[in-house]
Symmetry: none
DNA sequence: ATATTTGTGAAAATGAAATAACAGATAATG
DNA sequence: CATTATCTGTTATTTCATTTTCACAAATAT
């Protein structure tokens, strides 16, 4: 439990009293913008701290390292660990389960994926994509492949409530060429393609593109070949401790898109939702929510 | 507003298309734990990315640097700047987006949901459910409703590879009573039911239960009425800043279950997966993954 | 079949780190 | 105040690791 990794920062502060004047000066300089300054060349660090080169070398040894490179390596690993460790990562863990339990390993991976993916998304692109999906002047096509059609359908189910003029196409079906007949320039395609990328999806994308449609792509970190045709691409990290990939991150993105599109079209959406409620009530498909 | 000094991370992503395969591989490795890996020696980075040393050197130049050291220097300065910048608090956030951007609000909510949900799951229940799902002696039925059938189908798609004797039923279809004819005592039902809970699903569950089947339920925090019949229930938090609910947490759970079941049946799964690969190759449905 | 990309291996060049010796500075002590 | 011990910077030298570059073969894509 006590993995207390004892950072270099800790070690320096602990030894602060055993250090001489120049060394203390150096120590403070290191802590000043930690750990960046320690990752540069020794001489730069010395200059930064207004201290001589040998002083740095001497102190590094005093701290118990075999040399400056070793000191740097440890700093670097510290940084790496820090980046990985989302604050209190282990709050997430299922109660009482061993840390190695698949529930915890899997969840950690997914949260990591989410963090990583979000960090790479350009909000402006996202807003643009949402605006495209909200534009009822254009027909909206949603495309998925063998596995991803479940994501596509999930998006379709929600968008259906939000706006009219929308079609769900499954690229593995042999009926999709028919749909393309009606595509007009400016129509919007939202395409899902994760590894292993499907030829059909690429073909479909090419034809849609040739017809002047705009493409928005949800793909994985390695990016489907479709991305070269797409106006906007969102790449999700999908690797988890499993033989399969995780759809959790792309799902998060598309759910966010649904929420954003709804905000953009709230006036209409409201009416449509109420109308839908009525229809469901009439068909008695659902119980009243208590 | 646009102090955006254009980080190296940005630059790499922007040029991602101009890079070759090995270079892209390297690029991803750099972004993987950024910026730590870029601060080590060139050779270490190459090894990490499973790429040759010259490839690294070549790409660094392609990115516009005069050499690896220059690249490192800029990385270091970036790090230094980030440490000073108060914004750096929320790593998760989409870069540059205002903290109130829907991407960030939504993501925070989902991570919160995951944390909360995981904290309430009993790992033993989970293991039991996985064992039930892995038991090929029993027929496995997967049931979803109007919206949740996408989750059900996602589970079905994967379980199909893992084990035989499995059926996907959509409770909103009028064909489901037929499936129930074949249910034997001890068969297993995995049922998805989120608000608004569907009458059909409840009826189906009742009949399956009456026939002596075991029920595993994925539901939301308010719990579908099916949970009274279910041997094991998993409740996910699903509330997000949207007019709809999020399926991210239940998806995470079922993906974890897939991973766990696969572990339990690895011997068989392996064969089945290979057989499936062959079939896909023959149908040329997919491109070879590069 | 051709062109591009990538890895291998090795040599060369660079630059940084480690070390040593010494002198000047500083602090400590009597 | 004088003296000693310690610390620190300068300079120079050696050593080492890393980067850079090259040529060629293998792999890969077009």
């Amino acid at each position: 439990m006590t993995d207390a990794p004892l950072t270099i920062s800790d070690r320096i502060q602990r030894q602060l009293d055993d250090l001489t004047r120049a060394e203390r000066q150096l120590a403070h300089s290191i802590l000043e913008n930690y750990p960046a300054s320690g990752l540069g060349p020794l001489s730069a660090l010395a200059k930064d701290a207004q201290v001589s080169v040998p002083t740095v070398a001497r102190m590094v040894q005093k701290l118990g390292f075999n040399g400056y490179p070793e000191f740097q390596t440890e700093l670097r690993e510290e940084l790496k660990a820090k980046a990985k460790d989302p604050i209190a990562k282990h709050d997430t863990w299922a109660g009482g389960a061993p840390s190695g339990h698949i529930l915890n390993r899997f969840t950690d991976a997914v949260i990591d994926n989410i963090r990583h993916t979000l960090g790479q998304i350009d909000p402006q692109d996202f807003d643009t994509a949402c605006a495209m999906a909200a534009n009822t002047k254009r027909h909206l096509f949603i495309v998925g492949g063998r596995v991803t059609h479940t994501l596509a359908e999930y998006l379709f189910l929600h968008m259906q409530v939000i706006r009219p003029r929308i079609t769900h196409i499954q690229s593995t079906s042999n009926t999709w060429p028919h749909y393309l007949l009606d595509v007009k320039p400016g129509d919007v395609f939202i395409i899902f393609d994760m590894r292993r990328y499907e030829n059909n999806t690429l073909k479909l994308a090419e034809m849609a593109h040739a017809k002047g449609a705009k493409l928005v792509l949800f793909t994985d970190q390695w990016r489907s070949p479709v991305h070269q045709l797409a106006q906007i691409s969102f790449s999700s990290r999908i690797v988890v401790p499993s033989a399969w990939d995780s759809a959790a991150t792309p799902l998060l993105l598309l759910e966010t898109m649904v929420a954003a599109v709804q905000d953009l079209t709230w006036g209409d959406t409201k009416d449509r939702m109420e109308a839908l409620e009525d229809m469901f009530d009439q068909t008695k498909l659902f119980r009243k929510f208590t």
